[in-house]
């Protein structure tokens, strides 16, 4: 159910990102799509991918914002100082509340929750038949990760081929040097 809500939200945000005229708002909409994707990974029980997606999304968002905005973000200081102060305090309070509720559920230091890992270690050999537990995890339990890595490599090769091909065409002397 939550997954469907997230997917619909992502579709809407993607449409907004394409259709909106302002470049900065478009970048923010793309960021919303990425954060929803990381939440979707979390619901699909792949926390590694969710963390990676979150970090890459943050980096991409910052890079995209720096790329789309020539000058620094405008800061409104004069005038509405009451509104600014109150809204800042409200946001800080909300943030601290969520931090408090999240930190309460964390396990004690040095005493991690081993639910998933314990299952892998105890039943990994019987369930997959692979003696090497690392391979059993990356190619059976978490094969989606391996698929993602393969896709990343594939995309990298395609990108390098595309970029270097245009370079070689500018040279023009050797169309296909492999022959």
């Amino acid at each position: 159910m939550e997954l469907h809500i997230l997917l619909i939200f992502m579709i809407f945000a993607a449409i907004i990102a394409i259709e909106i005229k302002d470049l900065f708002s478009s970048v923010i909409a793309v960021g919303a799509v990425g954060f929803a994707l990381s939440l979707a990974f979390l619901i699909l029980k792949s926390p590694d991918l969710a963390i990676t997606q979150l970090v890459v999304e943050l980096l991409c968002l910052i890079i995209l914002i720096r790329a789309t905005i020539r000058k620094d973000l405008p800061l409104v200081i004069e005038g509405r100082w009451v509104f600014n102060t109150v809204s800042t305090l409200v946001f800080v309070a909300v943030f601290l509340f969520f931090c408090f509720t999240a930190l309460k559920d964390l396990p004690a230091f040095g005493d991690p929750i081993m639910n998933v890992v314990k299952k892998y270690l105890e039943q990994g050999q019987a369930k997959t038949g692979a003696v090497n537990i690392v391979t059993a995890i990356i190619l059976d339990f978490r094969a989606y990760d391996a698929l993602g890595e393969a896709a990343v490599l594939f995309t990298a090769v395609i990108g390098i081929m595309a970029v270097l091909r245009s370079f070689a065409k500018e040279g023009g002397s050797e169309e296909d040097g492999a022959k």
Binding site: G129, N132, I160, D176
Partner: protein, 141 residues
Amino acid sequence: MSVIVKAITRIIISMVLVFGIYIVAHGHVSPGGGFAGGVIIALSFVLLMLAFGKGVATSKVTRNIAANLEGVGALMFLMIALLGFLGGAFFMNILAKGTPFKLFSAGTIPLYNYVLGLKVGVGLFAIYLAFVILENTRKNK
């Protein structure tokens, strides 16, 4: 390259290639797997190219063959994953598990390793080839 490099390469190259295939094939029994073994396989071809020049390696694997095999590897990985639907789910391990510590065991995991090894090896070699071709183009300019 000099005579020493050529002679050593001639002896060592088959060992490097076989070692890469070993790493790929034993991914489910010993440390290693498709990614690491694929890089070693690619390195053997890169070594061939460094020692004997561009023509020798590209007469075995041209850039088009490399690019096509890369795509074939990615597609085969997805096909094996899709075969899991015969057992009920994506990425399901449908083949027989076999006895542990044997080369042919663990169901589909070795197949994933072979396909990944092919894909990674060919992909890295294709990247290297592309850079070499770029360098040649620059020199000719």
